[in-house]
């Protein structure tokens, strides 16, 4: 179906204004909403992620593409719900920026990328204290907690957050990953005991999938 290929193209190119109309046209032509997501939109974002990792595109273009995909998802969501049963989710991820840090661009990009990859994401914002990470993970029965830290002054908060989760009733059940300019793999994993580390949003999606055995 020509519409489906056009959806993939429009998401890849980040043509947000075109995507909803194309999705509607595909639905009108009888396309299956879940298939639109799984076979066209998610592969489009995979391609965008690959271009990002190859340094062919950068954060802005990836955000634009992710927003274009979300515009399409907004059209599909009510259709999926009307068909009974919401979208299938790969898992639930709680995402936030650690205490003392107000940076949100990288963290928000991760939110978009995870959603675009089929995860349910709980975005708990910036400047999040450890207990709030823990609470959100418990309330939402999260599979993964992801934390972002862009300031070197955030290291103690990264350590405290990981420790709070590991020592709680969720320890061993919830995977914890860290990312952001200030956090190294050595610090996060070897020193603090995180389950994973990624330098950027695209890498984080791959790490999370690996941790959940989805790759």
């Amino acid at each position: 179906m020509a519409e489906l290929e056009a959806i993939k193209q429009a998401v890849e190119k980040g043509r947000r204004k075109e995507v909803p109309g194309l999705v509607q046209a595909a639905l009108d032509a009888g396309a299956d909403p879940q298939e639109i997501i799984n076979s066209y939109m998610i592969p489009a974002m995979k391609e965008v992620g690959a271009r990002f990792e190859a340094k062919k595109i950068f954060v802005p273009e990836m955000m634009i593409a992710a927003k274009a995909m979300q515009a399409g998802l907004d059209v599909l969501r009510p259709v999926l719900e009307a068909k009974g049963g919401s979208q299938q989710k790969l898992g639930t991820v709680v995402v936030g920026t650690v205490f003392g840090d107000l940076h949100d661009i990288g963290k928000n990009l991760l939110v978009l990328m995870l959603e675009s990859s089929g995860f349910k994401v709980i975005n708990i914002g910036e400047n999040v204290p450890p207990e709030k990470f823990l609470q959100a993970a418990r309330d939402n029965q999260a599979d993964v907690v992801g934390m972002s830290s862009l300031l070197t002054t955030g290291d103690p908060h990264v350590a405290a957050t990981i420790q709070a989760i590991k020592e709680s009733d969720l320890g061993g059940k919830v995977k914890v990953i860290c990312g952001g300019a200030a956090v190294t793999e050595k610090f996060a994993v070897a020193q603090c005991g995180a389950d994973g580390h990624a330098p950027d949003a695209v890498g984080a999606v791959r790490v999370i999938k690996n941790l959940l055995g989805l790759n």
Binding site: G14, R16, K55, K56, I57, F58, V59, P60, E61, M63, I64, K67, F99, G100, D101, L102, H103, D104, I105, N108, G125, E126, N127, L151, T152, T153, P156
Partner: protein, 603 residues
């Protein structure tokens, strides 16, 4: 009884000072707080300070029209001097990097030159009493109760003894003695300070003439403890004594600038009786010793937002011992006294059409002024506008490319370099103009990518993706000067933060577009309006409507230093302005992503 000293009266203001045959009329006018024009500084060359000696005996020649040059004329005893309108300087023009502001003079204190008679055996009066009696003669509106700090009282006998009873007394608002100096040669100076995260600027103002005597700037010494506001706040919170350390650094920086300004003006910091401070909320808090910790966590509440007035020496400032420091009010955690001062400087409260005042930095402060309403917000642009996170980025210092002109056909760039030497890096305005030029030439797409179909020897693959060669190593500082696709993306993020803030403010006010855009700060001054339009930074703004206004925060601090009325106005602005918290805005992310692209080229 000692004879009362003769007075020299200046008309039409009626201001008066004790006669002094040793001082020129220009000097006497200065002592009286009469603003006389003089551009040569009293050398008898400019002819601006012409006055009429209406009564009294003039020492010095008159010109053919009967007028005297005040700087070349003295008066033997008392008399009346009339200042023609042409020689009056009521509204002093100060030039704060390109932006002219009329300075209204109504300072917090005045210096009174007094001739205090010696004690009289027939009717013994205390030194303080005789001094205050003279003061009341010179200043009939002085308060009944005058507050006289004990340390100044202690210095009174020696001051009276030094020059036969001639003293200079600084009195603030008619009721508090701020300073005392022997003789009449002392000056009444004020210091306006713009304490920026990166740069501190100080302006030395003569509070009697309204003349700007010196401007000095230096790096904020706190930079060694973190480049940005958040890391400084982190230091204050994380280290015992961290706040005191950073406060001490800021104070030391201001003291150095006061010294440098005084050296430039041939003055002494002990003649500075009044200091006015502006700065972002974090810098303001740290200088005043207030914990800035609340600014690092939502909802970013400051400790105090109202104007503060403190004894400067209590903060460690080495000015006149009893000098006062007035800190302008702040609006919010990230809309500081600097934004309030900038709004004051440009007269935002009187805007007759939608006017946007924009201070672009790591944290952009935006004020949208319309008749009947002032709205402000802050938006985190990141360091790209200051050359940060850019592969060949640098601050706007010597060697920085401040402007790039690109031939759209040949793609040959012409670089304007600060200081004229070889290009060492790109500062914010250079980055903006390079990207604007590449967009106009079609080398960059509206998405910020290098177009696949353009071929040029300057377009190549680098370690960080595709890049454009601005200058080869041989012509630059030893390494290729390039603009990478990643650099373009950093600029997109910074631009989108500003553009989204502007768009949301316009929507909030129900406006389609702004009619006037005032760009404050160093970056705003160098940013070419055409480039800002090309980037889509200011939605809907016409190129002709955009202008740089220089260091508006500093200009506002000067206004508040020169005039109490302007301080009240600043307080009204801070009080009446509405604040918009962008991080709590439900659609900020949508506006932000929408703003990442550059405008499509005009057809």
């Amino acid at each position: 009884m000692a004879a009362e000293p003769e007075m020299v009266v200046f008309e039409p203001s009626g201001r008066r000072v004790p006669a002094d045959a040793r001082a020129s009329l220009l000097e006497l006018a200065r002592r009286a707080g009469v603003a006389l024009a003089s551009t040569c500084g009293g050398k008898g060359q400019c002819g601006k300070c012409r006055v009429q000696v209406s009564s009294g005996r003039a020492l010095g020649p008159a010109a053919e029209d009967g007028l005297h040059l005040a700087c070349q004329t003295r008066l033997d005893g008392g008399g009346v001097v009339t200042v023609p309108a042409a020689s009056q300087l009521q509204q002093h023009q100060i030039l704060a990097t390109g932006h002219q502001t009329a300075l209204e003079l109504d300072p917090a204190l005045r210096l009174h030159r007094l001739q205090v008679p010696p004690p009289d055996l027939a009717a013994v009066r205390a030194d303080q009493e005789r001094l205050l009696a003279e003061l009341r003669r010179a200043e009939p509106e002085a308060a009944a109760e005058i507050d006289f700090p004990l340390p100044l009282l202690a210095a009174l006998p020696s001051a009276l003894a030094a020059e036969e009873g001639r003293v200079s007394l600084a009195l603030s608002q008619g009721q508090r003695v701020r300073g005392l100096a022997p003789g009449w040669g002392s000056r009444c100076l004020g210091l306006a300070v713009d304490l920026g995260t990166t740069t501190v600027v100080a302006y030395l103002l003569d509070l009697e003439s309204g003349q700007l005597l010196a401007v000095q700037a230096q790096m904020n010494p706190q930079v060694s403890w973190g480049e940005d506001v958040i890391s400084r706040i982190g230091f204050c919170q994380g280290q015992p004594g961290g706040l005191a350390l950073l406060q001490g650094q800021a104070v030391a920086g201001i003291n150095q600038l006061a010294q440098a300004c005084c050296a430039q003006a041939g003055a002494d910091p002990v003649q500075i009786y009044e200091c006015v401070l502006v700065g972002n909320t974090a810098m303001h808090h740290i200088l005043l010793g207030l914990d800035p910790g609340g600014l690092a966590r939502a909802p970013y509440a400051p400790v105090a937002s109202q104007a503060q007035e403190v004894r400067a020496a209590d903060l460690g400032l080495t000015l006149a011992p009893e000098a006062s420091l007035y800190a302008l009010p702040i609006k919010a955690g990230f809309v500081g006294a600097d934004a309030v001062a900038a709004a004051l400087a440009v007269g935002a409260q009187d805007a007759d059409q939608p006017t946007l005042l924009l201070d672009l930095g790591t944290n952009g402060e935006l004020v949208l002024a319309a008749p009947e309403r002032l709205l402000c917000c802050s938006t985190a642009a990141g360091p790209a506008f200051e050359g940060g996170h850019i592969s060949c980025g640098m601050r706007g210092a010597a060697g920085a490319v401040e402007r790039v002109r690109l031939d759209p056909a040949t793609l040959e760039p012409e670089l304007s370099v600060i200081g004229g030497g070889p290009p060492l890096g790109l500062c914010g305005s250079g980055l903006v103009s390079a990207v604007a030029g590449l967009l106009a030439a079609g080398v960059l797409t509206p998405r910020g990518a290098f177009a696949d179909d353009r071929r040029s020897p300057r377009l190549r693959q680098g370690a960080q993706g595709r890049e454009f060669l601005l200058a080869p190593a041989g012509q630059a500082g030893g390494q290729d000067l390039v603009l990478t696709a990643k650099d373009v993306s950093e600029l997109q993020l910074a631009k989108a933060a500003i553009q989204a803030g502007v768009s949301i403010m316009l929507a909030e006010m129900g406006l389609e577009r702004v009619e006037r855009v005032l760009l404050a700060g160093a970056f705003g001054n160098y940013l070419q309006p055409a480039d800002a339009v090309r980037l889509g930074l200011l939605p809907g703004a016409q190129e002709a409507a955009i202008q740089g206004v220089g260091n508006a925060a500093g200009a506002g601090a000067l206004k508040a230093l020169a005039s109490l009325g302007q301080r009240r106005l600043a307080e009204d602005i801070a009080q009446g302005m509405d604040y918009l918290e962008l991080s709590a805005h439900p659609h900020f992310q949508d506006y932000f992503v929408e703003s990442l692209s550059f405008p499509e080229p005009a057809v």
